[in-house]
Structures are given as C-alpha cells and as structure tokens.
C-alpha cells in the first residue's frame, strides 16, 4: 500500500513537469482524409451544434427558474401540473429535429456500405496481437507488428513521438484509389480502425466483412485495434502509408523482391552468428509479448525461455514446438504459416544462444522445411 501512495505522490510531482512536454489537447475528430470520414466529421459537427443549442435553451430556462422561482426570494408555488398543448409540442419538435438528422446520416450509411468497383482489394487479418495484410491483386503478404521497443513501454527509455503507434511493416496504399478491405480474425474478434479514413470494422474469425476507403492525401495515418482481444489489445496498432501511384508500384516491386530473396534464403545455410542476429528481431516481434524480451517469461502465465527445457533440450523438439505449437490447449501456437523457414530457423537459434542459453547449435532453414513436412516430428511425441 505504501509504495502505491509513493507512486501516486510521484505521479503528482511529474504531472506539472509533463503537462507542457506531453500534453496535446485535441477537441474534435481527427482530420479526415477520405470522403466518408469528411462526411462523418461534418455530421458530428452538426449534431453537436444541435445538441448544444437544445441544451442552452432547456437549461437556460431551468437556470432562470432556479434563480427566480426560489423560496428564498419569496416566490410562491403555482399549482399547474399539466398542459396538453405544451406536452404535444415538446414531443413533436424533437421528433422533427431527429428526422432532420436521420436523413443525412442514412445517406452516409449507404455510402459506407457500398464496396462496389474497387481499384484494389486488401485482406486484413487480426491476430493476437498483430495484423496480417494480404494484397489480393498483387500477391503481396506480410505481418505488421508493434515496433515500439519494450524499453519505452517499461519506462526505461524515452518515448518516441509515435509511441505505441509505430509498426515494423505499414500497410501501403496509393493515393486517390478506391481500396476495398476484407477484414477477418484468426483467433478472437479484433477491430481494424483508421480514424482518418472513417473505417472501423470488426475482424470476426470465420467471417469476412468488407469496407472501403479512398485516401485523398499522401501521408501516414495511424489507428489502433478497437475491440478487446486479450492481453496485448493495446499493443497492436495500425499504420497506413498513403503514397503516390509511382511509389506504390515501386513498393510492390520491392515487396516481391524481398519475398523472392526470402525464398532464396530458405535454401541457404547460415552460421550461428547470422541466425542469432536475425532471430533477435523475429523474437522481439513474435515471442517477446509472452516470453518477454529478457527471456524470463511471466511466472504462472508464460514459461521462461532462459534455461528452459525446450531451448536447452533436443533441437528437433524445439523446432517442432515453434513450427506446430505446443500441446493442444496451450498458449503456444505454431508459426508454420506465419514465419518463413529462415525466420523460424533464426528464432530457434536465437533462443538457444541468447541470455544464459549457450547451446552453440543452429537450426537451418532446411531443418524447418523438413519439420513442416512432418518428418522431424515423429521424434518428438512430447510436443503432442
């Protein structure tokens, strides 16, 4: 309890100092960069004005009454207790105002739902806790995970301007093109939300739901998952880069090149040092959320990697768990379809050689390919 109070006290002290440095007060929706978002922005402004207007009239009358009709100024109570005319009027006037609001709102709903004639389609999949993007017309696929380092979250490093809103691989779309998004979830319900585009769509496992946007200004736009999806719900941001048509083409070509390079990598052999270097990045993006960056896990919830029986045991078992997942009903899912052979090889090697683990051995992409085929698995019944 005492430390709790010290905390609160410390926070109070920090408050005044941080006010000027961190505070950034915004009073309305984010600046819209699509037609739908702009319509919503204006609709919200109108309804706010209507509400404020009604509020001022009604409560103006009430406060007038509070001042004038009080016993202390000698006001005697009247005895009326109904008036049919007034009652009908104040039923009908709000109704008319509502009809006036409903009409423009309905038009926007219909526009939002019209996903016809897109220039391109991107499928977006929500995972615990990252996003997957699949460009259906381009054959480009990648995952997008939080890029903010754990040290910033744990307050051991200064926070960047885009703290919690930075990803390793942003979604990239061309400016002025009608982009249709198909949204689905892999495990639980997530929600893909970019405020500047006016798109928020729940990602429901087993079902695809579609939405669309046309971004009309080049720039980088950020959003977050908007449906509670478990532990790291607050740590799976969305970043969309809107670029020129030419830049988009270049980006697609580069992505395809990377994919080819990755495929080529899968048939190579690496030394331990190369794999550890590469594996650290893969570990931070995919494993650190549960097993923690220091490999210590979260006691009682997620096992430690440092000194674990898996990371210091037979390498075949280790590979098998990373590829296919732990025992059914455990938190450890397989990464077979999320990571490439070389990435899995790298992360396994990293886990066996990081922290206090000094195994010195390495998994090669070929080992992973073999494990995918099921050949190496038979030796590891423990994992099933």
């Amino acid at each position: 309890m005492k430390s709790m109070w010290q905390r609160v006290g410390a926070m109070g002290a920090v408050w005044a100092a941080s006010q000027s440095a961190l505070a950034n007060y915004a009073y309305n929706l984010q600046p819209p960069v699509s037609e739908v978002a702009r319509d919503v922005y204006h609709l919200h402004n109108v309804i706010m004005l209507v509400c404020v207007g009604i509020f001022i009239v009604v409560f103006g009358l009430m406060f007038y009454s509070l001042i004038k009709h009080r016993k202390s100024v000698g006001h005697k109570a009247a005895h009326f207790h109904e008036n049919t005319t007034v009652e009908i009027i104040w039923t009908i006037i709000p109704f008319i105002i509502l009809v006036g609001m409903a009409y423009p709102a309905a038009k926007i709903v219909i526009d939002m739902k019209n996903t016809s004639n897109p220039d391109m389609t991107v499928k977006i999949t929500g995972y615990q806790w990252k996003w997957g993007y699949d460009y259906l017309n381009e054959d480009v696929q990648f995952y997008s995970t939080l890029a903010t380092p754990r040290e910033q979250i744990n307050n051991t490093a200064p926070k960047d301007a885009n703290y919690l809103l930075e990803v390793d691989e942003p979604m990239v779309v061309p400016v002025g093109k009608r982009v249709r998004v198909l949204i689905t979830g892999n495990d639980v319900i997530h929600s893909w939300w970019v405020p500047a585009f006016g798109v928020k769509q729940d990602a429901i496992p087993g079902f695809i739901r579609d939405s669309w946007f046309t971004a009309d200004t080049i720039g980088t736009y950020r959003g977050q998952c908007a449906e509670l999806c478990g532990k790291d719900h607050g740590f799976m941001p969305i970043v969309v880069k809107v670029v020129s048509e030419a830049d988009y083409k270049a980006w697609v070509a580069q992505k395809k090149g990377t994919a080819r390079a990755m495929a080529a990598d899968n048939s190579k052999t690496f030394d331990v040092k190369e794999l550890v270097e590469r594996g650290e990045k893969v570990y931070q993006a995919n494993c650190a959320a549960c097993h923690q960056a220091n490999g210590m896990g979260l006691p009682g919830a997620f096992p430690a990697m440092n000194g674990s029986k898996v990371a210091t045991g037979p390498i075949a078992d280790h590979i098998n768990i990373v590829v296919h997942g732990g025992r059914p009903g455990t938190a450890m899912t397989g990464f077979a379809d999320r990571l490439s052979d070389v990435e899995i090889a790298a992360v396994v090697t990293y886990e066996r050689n990081a922290w206090d683990n000094k195994m010195g051995d390495a998994a090669q992409p070929a080992d992973i390919a073999a494990a995918r085929g099921g050949a190496a698995v038979a030796a590891a019944p423990a994992a099933q």
Partner: protein, 184 residues
C-alpha cells in the same frame, strides 16, 4: 389476497422461464434471419435449374482462403479471381496441405464480401459441405463448382468468396489458457 399473490407469482415465474427459453429460441431465429437476408448462407448444396446466362454484365469474383488458429494446415487458392457473367458455371480449385504428423479433421466455413452476396452463390459442389480428413503430410486439390444467380443485385460488381478452415477438435481453439501453459 393470498390467492391474488400466488397467481401473480405463478404468472411471473412462467414469464421468466419463458424468457429463458426465448434466449435459446433466438438461436434458430437468428439463423433464419441470416438465411433470409443472405448473410452466412451458402454451405448447402443447390440444384441449379435456371442456367440462363446474363451476358450483359460482368462480375469479378475474388477467392480467399484462411486457416484458423490451431489448424496446422496450409490452405490457399490456386486462382486469385475470375471475371464471369452471372449464370455462368464457375469451377475454382483450392489447395490444402496438412503439415502436421497426424491426421486432422477440418471443416471449412464459407463467408462472402459483401455479406449479402452470399444469397446469390448457388454451389453445386464444395468441400465445405462436409468435414475433410487429411492424413499427415497429405496435400489435396479441392474444387468448388458454382453458379452466380443471374438475379444478383445490379450494384454488385466485385464480390469475394472466402473460406476459413477450422480444426473440428474444439480443444485446438481454446488456446491461450494462461494457467494451462505447460511448463516446457
């Protein structure tokens, strides 16, 4: 007075029990509504009678494949999209491979974008009608044969047919129970 109270009590208990039943009755009611409105439909076999092709317009159909967590299969389309006339017979191949060391039973669930397009897919053959068993390491081509109903809404130009394969063993999905994490 006592009889008044007990008859009120009886009525209210009946209402409460009735509403408990109503909660469950909402389940078939929900599916009926989804069927009528075309959402979540399409995993039943259709006998196509009217094969009139509407050559006056084109519809782009995109194909999409997903595997849910807990199913170590690779599931993909062999073709990203086709452009067809409504009423035309379409055949498309999906490919699925079991990467694990044991046989697994999977069930594919269809979904459509936009959801209302589902009502116009008339499937003649589909792997989604029944659970599929794949032996360890098995790879299989699976066709879907369908006709797009020519009465499809005129404003639908681009639609998506999507499948998600689930592991039929429910234990595979109840993953991430923190206290059940084995101390591996």
């Amino acid at each position: 007075m006592a009889t008044g109270k007990s008859s009120t009590l009886t009525k209210l208990v009946i209402v409460a029990l009735g509403m408990f039943g109503f909660g469950f009755a909402l389940v078939p009611f929900y599916y009926k509504i989804c069927e009528v409105t075309g959402i979540n439909s399409g995993d039943e076999q259709s006998l196509v009678k009217n094969t009139q092709v509407d050559t006056s317009r084109w519809v782009t159909i995109e194909f999409d494949a997903n595997t849910n967590e807990g199913l170590p299969w690779q599931f993909k389309t062999t073709q990203r999209s086709v452009r067809v006339h409504p009423g035309q017979l379409v055949q498309v191949e999906y490919e699925v491979a079991n990467h694990s060391d044991h046989a697994i039973v999977g069930q594919a669930v269809p979904s459509y974008g936009p959801a209302r397009a589902g009502a116009f897919f008339k499937k003649i053959e589909c792997f989604c009608f029944t659970p599929q068993t794949l032996a360890a390491g098995e790879r299989r081509q699976m066709p879907v044969l369908f006709v797009l109903d020519p009465s499809i809404d005129k404003d639908l130009h681009t639609i998506t047919l999507s499948y998600t394969f689930f592991n039929t063993d429910p234990r595979a999905q109840t993953a991430r129970l923190p206290e059940k994490v084995p101390h591996v």
